[in-house]
Subunit: 316 residues, 4 copies
């Protein structure tokens, strides 16, 4: 059943997921006249290896994107953009370009790993992004990042793995995005983020914490600030009633530990029909969250691009 | 922009949300020959007042469902089912009937309120449902329910409100439901549940807890049980890689405290353009989770009904 | 299977077709701020009895439209417009209002009945419409209309019925409407018009006549006219390669004779399993084309409204 | 705007139409376990050069299909089938395999060219197809085919071109296919066939002829034939009220003459802003209908495959 499409106006169809000879994305609904080149997409693909000098990295066949249609002389034509790639991130790169055109920025980073939490001061997104790319954990807090790396080394030696949290922030999102009934903005973000392998929970704003809060703590009061109305606090995470408020959109996802671990585990020997033990060989990445950062950014960007186009559509 | 539809094969279109003269649902894609009457839907609508004798309850105009099309002689005809109602729960009632036809049951209950957590022993769903309907909190643990009620009384007197958690279990779901790419089962459940007003987080299985776990704890090992293969534990919450495993599907949602509280709060006086204080008058329900129980059940049932039909579709 | 929706951005869902207790339309995707009242729709519904003094016509329950949602203080809100009615024409009335906003007019009329063809001089649409409403055949050529009525009386006495042709013209359609691949403008018009009961053929521009033409006759040459480029002739019917050219869009539909006739016909006696003869009693309208005029206008208006919104969407 | 998809359950997305570096089709919704190889598709692509010994034909790069995903060990997997090709016909080949699985056959042929009409005796589809492939005109009547070829030679020398008619027959279609409201079977066929470049009219059954018929001629009476009920005549073309009757589905399309002709034509000199004359150089195919035969077959097969899957879906 048609479940390989995503989005309403900014719509993605993929094929060849992991097992085929190639992996492709057809991106439909991107307006014409958006400046876009293979480089815009390639730079997002290159983010998959955090903390490394990019120049020194040998780029393999699987890492290269090829745009097959939809771009003419460096601009989108308004017809489907077909890309051959090995990372979904590609469609997100187009979404980000579109969002930038409307003044929206998206950034993700690791905020917890193996129980160690980062302290994230409110900084501008450019600095946040610089800090995130400065270490292989993609954690903006250098002290926490160091302790996470130590923890990761320990766990790797034990043949085990770690779970963690990733936070995604979208800044500059205009108020009014989202449909009040079914395609609420938080609902679409929840679907997009839960679509990522290994994600077991999605939070918006105060998230799960709101279960233990009182109304008087949870509500974000309105305040005058320099002659403009703003919210004091952002427990809503930038979304009220399924609609963006204009504040930062803040999502958090819980990422489970890598399931393929070297440690002995219980299983069943299918041939014998008996309980057995298994040891998975090979090198495994003991933590998924750092690799999740560009992917989560891409998913949030795709949802926001779709809703931005939908908002434009609903006006005469 | 068309955002008033939900589902792919089992598809719901609503109109008149809260402000219009009537509220309607058009339900498209329900197969023909399913036994269905207004009573099947009415009994779900009647669940909105927990812990009360139903016989004694005066039913008002707003509580009655009227089926306008799609049913003939007590059975669906396969054409759109149009209903006039005041509660969305109606489409969920049709979904539940369809799920029962395929041996699937869905039940929801309150597991946390104002910081008090219920102990939920694994019981059969019929008993669970009986316990849930036995108290107005809709919590299956009688001791916890009593303490939650006390806490609620206290908070009501202070003019404040409480947040909480609701758990939804689906039993009998066949393995293989869900699309491996975009319409993953957990992603669609996350969207459906995040669509409900006041929900700020959605968890599947171990949920947010997995962020602090190691792979060796998180993985659900396979075990032989009475000659059949089963999972030991259900940290996955019945879904792996976006596909149902055949185990219970377990979702949890964090519900924020009621925002309309009697306590004084900061706000802005729009006319004066100045900071101000507000006291909201009138009686407010100080906790949303008990009312969320039938609604969350409905949303999960709708997602599962859609995916059951989609699974049937994908086979020659 | 979801087949009760029509359109992509300007999307219609209907229910209760002919057999239910009511008939409804939910119209999704109409932009906010369009001036719209029940009267705008009612006047289209009232066109169903051509050539009669409207004042004298008793309006029955079944003829009245009721808007249940989506309009506030005489303007669309951008949320679904739900209407209770007995004629589909209602959604077309909204589409026409939207088209007028963009300077597009649609008019339909009978051009053939029982083999009698009307001569249609190129007149402005306002005059054409006045002529069309002046006789019960809805034929803009008064002489042809008179002969058609005589023919109709004759056939009625014989207990038989007549087929005919209806032409639909859309003026002011901007160039560039239509998708070059699947949702070509002519393809969508063909689907919409073939959806009408009794239609067995759809033509665009030269239509079926082009089968007997040579390229040198068929091609519409470009000409300078008053300093502007225009086409000489309109064999293309305003659409080339699935895209509007800016010329009048001209469609024609062949409408079969009413199947319910009083004349004796062969059939099968199902109980006896034998050949038999049947005479259908009751008064039957011996020609469908006059009633088809407002319906065909509505369908063309709906397709054009959808594509106008889609064109707006595809621009940055 | 998303207009590069076609179909509801059996859904096609294309990209790279004519101008890109490659042309691709992603076919979604084909059930798993259907036997399918590149050869099944290749043989349809090879039909583009009628009346030639296939062995002797040099196959160029542009003629080869490459399946990139969705097939494993000669069977569909149920996931999207992605194909790189230069002819749309490819998706139709998959649809035909699926239809054969359900006992449905589709065949198309030229029935009119340059005013010369073929006489088509009712023969079985296998013989019809043999006759069609026996001459480059793809006309099943050898005498008419010869005269059409002579006419074609004449017109080619004059630098002009010819229009014609193509008939498509689908046999073995079960009764009940099609949605009674919007996605009527005839409406979807009309859209699919009008989507083909150069088609200016679509007829079902008696088609445009019904405009001049009386009800007593048009109606197909029921008759007992060998103990079974059947229709005498097929003016309905196998579709009544938008639903298949079980009789042959018969469609006809009017194909306009090739617009690129060598003859002098009027046009406008854009640089000078003045009327001018143009002579298009190069070899042009003076008639499109023969090449339209495999394409029209493909489109009808795709619509029928989609509706077959939808019919299966609507049953409990």
């Amino acid at each position: 059943m048609p479940g390989s499409s995503f989005g309403t106006l900014f719509r993605i169809t993929t094929w060849g997921e992991s097992h085929g000879r190639a992996v492709g994305v057809v991106l439909d609904g991107c307006p014409a006249e958006l400046a876009l080149t293979e480089y815009d997409i390639q730079k997002e693909l290159d983010r998959r290896r955090p903390g490394q000098s990019r120049a020194s990295t040998q780029r393999t066949e699987a890492d290269r994107v090829e745009i097959l249609s939809g771009i003419f002389e460096g601009k989108t034509t308004g017809t489907p953009i077909s890309m051959l790639i090995w990372n979904r991130v590609a469609a997100g790169a187009v979404a980000k370009k579109l969002l930038q055109h409307f003044g929206v920025e998206v950034a993700a980073f690791v905020t917890e790993l193996g129980g160690i939490k980062s302290r994230t001061d409110s900084v501008d997104l450019a600095e946040l992004r610089a800090r995130v790319e400065a270490n292989p954990i993609r954690c903006p807090d250098p002290n926490a990042a160091m302790r996470m790396m130590e923890q990761l080394d320990l766990v790797r030696q034990e043949g085990d793995s770690l779970g963690g949290m990733v936070t995604i922030i979208a800044r500059g999102v205009p108020p009014g995005l989202g449909d009040p009934v079914f395609d609420k903005l938080d609902a679409d973000l929840a679907k997009a983020l839960m679509s990522l392998g290994a994600v077991k929970a999605v939070e918006i704003g105060a998230g799960i914490g709101c279960a233990g809060m009182r109304g008087s703590e949870m509500n974000d009061p309105l305040r005058m600030e320099g002659g403009k109305i703003g919210f004091e606090g952002n427990n809503a995470g930038g979304i009220l009633g399924g609609i963006s408020t204009g504040m930062d959109i803040v999502c958090r996802i819980a990422v489970k530990p890598t399931p393929s671990i070297a440690k002995k585990q219980h299983t069943v020997d299918l041939a014998a029909g008996m309980d057995a033990e298994i040891e998975i060989k090979g090198r495994h990445d003991p933590a998924i969250p750092p690799r999740m950062v560009p992917v989560a950014e891409a998913m949030v960007a795709i949802v926001l691009a779709d809703h931005l186009l939908r908002q434009r559509m609903s006006r005469l």
